[in-house]
């Protein structure tokens, strides 16, 4: 079989060799480990069965069987060694990759994060209005495991308990005070007046449904001692699949975009997840608010990655050359001190530098520039320069180490010959050393480019993408690179989270990085053939 490796260390008949069977200890270890895995798998399968998640159940069962088959059969030794790593790789790298692809074609995000059924329920619960002239329920606020419930006494004197999402249930063993109002129930702690005040906000949020059907209405309180009946202002008509507002009479219908919309185009807050085809990709390239910033961010991402690679490589190579001299005193000290930034955690570097460069209180302005107010991180151009300088600080030691290693492995005789022929040091460097060096270092430069293309930490910690771009309402800044933009869209605090759009952008980034990597690896192959 042809392999990528030179076959010299490996006699070709390896696959035929038989290993002796396992020892007792090995067998025991195998049984125990496989037992643990299977026990866990059975537990998961039972939970999935109870939750009626059939597709996942089938998949999990198949994986469990496969694992057992791999380890219980006699042959297939390579699979036994590869399976654990590949399992995690498939679930948390390959699957999430594919899943990203799927999410990119949905409207998943804030307001669209569940099924239509859940959305209908949520809308009914959220749109509640007090029923005029409805009776008052006397209540005590009770607490269990940090959750507040209403212990209610209805006008007829019947006592029930319920909490948000957990409908009222009649209880018989509650203690009542002289007025007949239920005050205590076993298993619950009754809140005193000052505690009610302290937890006001949470108690106002409590919405206790009368039954599982949201149309029956709910109980809410405004003072912690009486509750009133609230009923949904939006009523769902299952047959017509519409919501009707009981007060205005406006009818909201399924728009096909995962929301209920009135004829005037008014949307109800909660929607559900649907497949939207290429809409997210189209949005990325056409929506005014996104297209402009996206182009800007993409250009900057390329600039940032390219300049970062070139600047760190140039400095690293220069230093490697400068210190590639025998008998240079203090060389070891220089080297150790110089590689310290490489050992410093990258996320801290960004934060520390953001302090150094702080315009008002930072060391750089106050000490180096005598109190000048230079906006290092808030002026778009200066912020970009700052990001590049900080990344140079972080990255040059790596290149220095790599170049030192590569320089030392260059054949000495070529140098010698060139020197004999009277080549100047510069000429020697550019025509002999550099090309030879590039052959070995080029793949690392490409890897470094790909890494910097997604170098989240330095940007996020130093400038948080800022300063903000003025021409867009999206939360995008002048130093944002693609990956920080994706993070902001998916988990940012600005406008609603949009998982679909974020995933679409991820997919686009992936294709860019993959294309560049493939092209440049081809180029370096060509480079290798020349020499």
């Amino acid at each position: 079989m042809r392999t990528t490796e030179p076959p010299r260390t490996l006699p070709p008949k390896r696959s035929r060799t038989r290993y002796p069977t396992d020892s007792i200890g090995g067998l025991l270890a195998k049984i125990i480990l496989l037992g643990i895995v299977d026990a866990f798998a059975v537990y998961v399968l039972i939970v999935l069965f109870m939750q009626e998640k059939w597709a996942v159940l089938l998949l999990a069962a198949a994986v469990t069987l496969l694992i057992n088959w791999i380890y219980l059969r006699r042959g297939g030794l390579p699979a036994k060694y590869l399976a654990p790593g590949i399992f995690f790789l498939l679930v948390f790298q390959v699957f999430v990759m594919i899943f990203s692809g799927y999410v990119a074609f949905t409207n998943y995000g804030d307001g669209h994060n569940s099924t239509k059924e859940d959305a209908v329920n949520a809308i009914q619960l959220s749109a509640q209005q007090r029923v005029p002239d409805s009776p008052a329920y006397r209540i005590s606020i009770v607490e269990q495991d940090g959750e507040f419930s209403f212990l209610t006494t209805n006008p007829d004197g019947d006592v029930s308990i319920g909490t948000t999402g957990d409908p009222l249930e009649e209880v018989s063993d509650a203690a009542t005070d002289s007025t007949g109002k239920a005050t205590e129930l076993e298993g619950y702690r009754t809140l005193q007046f000052d505690e009610v005040l302290a937890n006001q906000a949470e108690i106002l949020e409590v919405t206790v449904p009368f039954s599982d059907d949201p149309d029956d209405g709910t109980l809410k309180t405004s003072d912690g001692s009486t509750a009133y009946v609230y009923s949904p202002t939006l009523v769902y008509d299952e047959a017509a699949d519409t919501f009707t507002n009981t007060q205005t009479g406006i009818v909201y219908t399924d728009s096909g975009d995962g929301t209920f919309v009135s004829e005037d185009g008014e949307e109800l807050g909660t929607g559900w997840k649907i497949d939207v085809g290429f809409a997210n990709f189209v949005k990325a390239f056409t929506d005014e608010n996104i297209r402009g910033p996206l182009v800007q961010v993409t250009l900057w991402t390329f600039t940032f990655a390219l300049v970062s690679v070139l600047s760190t490589f140039a400095l690293g190579l220069f230093l490697a050359n400068a210190f590639n001299l025998p008998n240079l005193r203090g060389k070891r000290i220089y080297r150790i001190l110089m590689i310290l930034p490489y050992a410093f955690p990258a996320f801290l570097a960004g934060l520390v530098w953001s302090g150094l460069l702080n315009p008002e209180f930072g060391y750089v302005n106050n000490t180096f520039f005598g109190g000048a107010d230079i906006p290092w991180l808030t002026d778009p151009l200066l912020a970009k320069v700052s990001v590049l300088v900080v990344n140079l600080w972080l990255g040059f030691p790596y290149m220095f180490l790599v170049c030192t290693g590569a320089l030392q492995s260059l054949p000495e005789d070529v140098n010698e010959a060139a020197r004999m022929d009277g080549a100047s040091p510069w000429k020697l460097f550019t025509t002999i050393k550099l090309p030879l060096l590039l052959v070995s270092v080029a793949p690392l430069l490409i890897a470094s480019f790909a890494f910097n293309f997604n170098n989240f930490n330095v940007i996020y910690m130093l400038t948080d993408g800022g300063p903000r771009l003025p021409e867009t309402t999206a939360n995008v800044g002048a130093t944002d690179i693609l990956i920080t933009m994706v993070y902001e869209i998916a988990f940012g605090s600005g406008v609603g989270r949009d998982y679909g759009l974020a995933s679409a952008l991820s997919i686009i980034i992936f294709f860019i990085v993959a294309a560049i990597s493939i092209i440049s690896f081809r180029q370096t192959k060509a480079l290798e053939e020349i020499h």
Partner: protein, 313 residues
């Protein structure tokens, strides 16, 4: 001492080949000649060293200065006390001690598991011949182009689903986070190790097998001890990478008690940089010291690994 041995490797074989310089000639030379040959190198060395260590000195100075604000830390080492460190460990809303332990535990467990899973795979690739071997090696390389960072939304949603099934493995769980990290256990690590495994002569394990050793015994008692350097490199690089990992950890770990240093320390200064500066600096120093110490202690392995990587491509 470690630095002695490590720098011995740093200054490597290439340099020992240089011709010895006779002290007598050196003394006779003019300053100009000395500067052209060596002096400028010292100049470059001093300037670069200052650039490299200046931010580190700054953060150390700020950490030791309990005036606490950013403005107060602008004269390096003007005050030295441990007030910031005391404050760092006394804020119950920002449990620095827990973050530290969390980071260590997650980092050590994940990098140990990464090394083990990678070594298993590298052993299979290096010592066995099977169908799809070349394809698997290539796929690993290609998959590396899609960093997990890009799939953070999907990871969030997947863990969200897992929360419904097995709550202690889902969002907010450190075990869940470790599993996510292990998704990247193969890939580049396997490549590094695979290359190194190939340099161990196969005759060694053949001899052992003839003596009746099983494949497991060969792996644990013959191969693993011989490849310790690369295991250290991979483990250390994994640990350093993990100690800085912010994105996935910030999405998965929501409860302050379960967070890592990267997520926690960011929350310290995420909103208002200048206020908590001194305490943050103290946290930064404590967070960086173990990683840097480990790095310097093992640097001969790292440098060797990097250099080997660069030469072989």
């Amino acid at each position: 001492m470690s630095t002695e041995t490590s720098t011995a490797v740093l200054t490597g074989p290439g340099e020992s080949g240089g011709r010895p310089v006779e002290p007598a000639t050196e003394r006779r030379r003019t300053f100009g000649a000395w500067f052209r040959e060596k002096g400028w190198r010292h100049l470059v060395g001093v300037v670069t060293t200052l650039f490299a260590i200046f931010p580190l000195l700054y953060v150390l100075s700020a950490a030791l200065n309990s005036t606490g604000t950013m403005a107060g830390s602008n004269v390096l080492f003007s005050r030295i006390d441990v007030g910031n460190f005391e404050q760092l460990f006394s804020d119950p809303n920002r449990p620095f001690g827990k973050w530290f332990v969390n980071t260590l535990v997650i980092g050590v467990v994940t990098s140990a598991a990464t090394v083990f899973l990678g070594a298993l795979a590298a052993y299979a690739f290096s010592r066995m011949r099977f169908k799809g071997r070349r394809f698997s090696l290539l796929s690993l390389l290609v998959l590396q182009m899609f960093p997990q960072l890009l799939a953070v939304v999907a990871i969030f949603l997947l863990l969200n689903f897992i929360t419904d099934v097995v709550p202690w493995l889902g969002l907010g769980s450190q075990v869940g986070l470790i599993m996510v990290y292990l998704g990247g256990a193969l890939g580049v690590n396997t490549y590094l190790m695979y290359g190194f495994f190939n340099t161990i002569p196969a005759s060694l394990d053949e001899a052992a097998r003839i003596d009746g050793a099983s494949h497991v015994q060969v792996f644990f008692t013959i191969i693993l001890p011989l490849v310790t350097p690369i295991l250290a490199v991979v483990g250390l690089l994994a640990f350093i990478g993990l100690s800085s990992e912010f994105v996935i950890a910030s999405v998965v770990l929501t409860d302050p008690d379960s967070q890592t240093l990267a997520v926690g320390l960011y929350s310290y200064v995420g909103q208002q940089r200048s206020e908590n500066w001194g305490v943050f600096a103290a946290g930064a120093v404590l967070a960086a010291v173990p990683v840097m110490a480990l790095f310097l202690y093992l640097q001969k392995y790292i440098v060797h690994g990097l250099a080997a990587g660069s030469v072989k491509g």
